[in-house]
């Protein structure tokens, strides 16, 4: 589609990609919402002791339109799922998802009809942070892992098209 078809994976596009990925890495804005007890640890991470602003993430966006990152912090009930899906769909690309805590990773202790057994059944999760709840350091470590992933995230070059094709094949 468009000019990217003809660009391929050459010096100009790869360098531009690196630059943009570096920029994206430095300003991942999370969406403001917490579902359960893990949200408390997320709030602590944003407060002055751990200070998420050091990673360019201080702006917890109340509007999903301005957010890049969704930190799913806590138990996701089936009743809550449509709202979360909607928030995710309202977020603009590029967007990432962190599953924080045992409940978001896998449903955790709540093996029940009312609880979603892992947010990855509905959303494409990038980083899983287990723990009940994880320490603020644990969350920061997960965010650093996400930064690693964003740094190598193709969006312009042939690699991106390969990724999209692979995704379509799976679906």
């Amino acid at each position: 589609m468009g000019i990217e078809e003809k660009l391929g994976y050459n010096v100009l596009t790869t360098t531009l990609e690196k630059l943009v990925d570096w920029g994206r890495k430095g300003s991942v804005w999370p969406a403001t919402f917490g579902l359960a007890c893990c949200a408390i640890e997320m709030i602590v991470t944003a407060a002055n002791r751990w200070d998420i602003a050091r990673f360019g993430m201080e702006a917890f966006r109340a509007s999903p339109r301005q957010a890049d990152l969704m930190i799913v912090a806590g138990t996701v009930t089936k009743k809550m799922m449509p709202a979360i899906e909607r928030i995710y769909e309202q977020m603009t690309e590029p967007k990432w998802v962190i599953a924080m805590g045992a409940c978001a990773c896998s449903g955790g202790i709540f093996d029940s009809y009312a609880v979603v057994q892992g947010i990855d059944l509905y959303l494409p999760v990038d980083v899983y942070i287990p723990g009940c709840p994880p320490r603020p350091e644990g969350l920061l470590y997960g965010i650093l892992k996400l930064h690693e992933k964003i740094l190598h995230d193709p969006f312009l070059t042939a690699k991106y098209r390969q990724k999209v094709e692979a995704r379509q094949e799976v679906a």
Binding site: D51, A102, E137, Y141
Partner: protein
């Protein structure tokens, strides 16, 4: 004229009074932990995933593969496979926890008859998939022994079925 200067003075004072808290915090030491470069040590009450206690008398773990922990676990996330190394002793061949299900209730640590388990101080556990959260306790113990310069506990062989031919020259065990 006097009122003019009085106004300036009161204005200046109210500015200082209003910013007192800011100024106070400006000279106080910084509380932020610069996480990747500076790390806090975890408090003894912190619960990471479970790990084997390294018994310093024997230099190895105390697990007898009784599977009490696997049975009591409310999320059924512990997999223990024991093997008898002699008629009176059983050791785990495999001890794996799927940490993504763990709610750190501590029932496994409490129920252990030999006190072989404890909570670790690990918090760097994030991964790119669910499988990254799976912890192999035996491998962890082996790494711990290597760091401490102790003899590494080998992973016992799988139990053979009855009647299956044993390889030649193997010691009966």
């Amino acid at each position: 004229m006097v009122t003019y200067f009085k106004e300036i003075l009161t204005g200046f004072y109210s500015l200082l009074a209003g910013m007192a808290v800011t100024i106070k915090y400006f000279v106080k030491p910084i509380v932020t932990v610069q996480y990747p470069r500076q790390k806090l040590s975890m408090s003894p009450a912190y619960r990471g995933h479970t790990e084997f206690v390294l018994d310093l008398e024997t230099g190895t773990h105390r697990c007898i593969a009784c599977e009490m922990c696997a049975r009591i676990c409310p999320s059924q996330l512990i997999t223990v496979e024991g093997v008898k190394i002699d008629p009176k002793k059983k050791v785990p061949r495999k001890y794996v926890i799927e940490y993504q299900y763990c709610s750190l209730c501590g029932l496994c640590v409490e129920s252990c008859p030999t006190k072989a388990l404890k909570f670790s101080e690990e918090y760097r556990l994030a991964g790119f998939s669910r499988e990254d959260c799976v912890v192999d306790l035996l491998a962890r113990l082996q790494a711990q022994q290597q760091r401490a310069g102790l003899a590494v506990t080998p992973r016992p062989e799988a139990r053979r079925e009855e009647g299956e031919a044993k390889p030649e020259g193997e010691v009966k065990g």
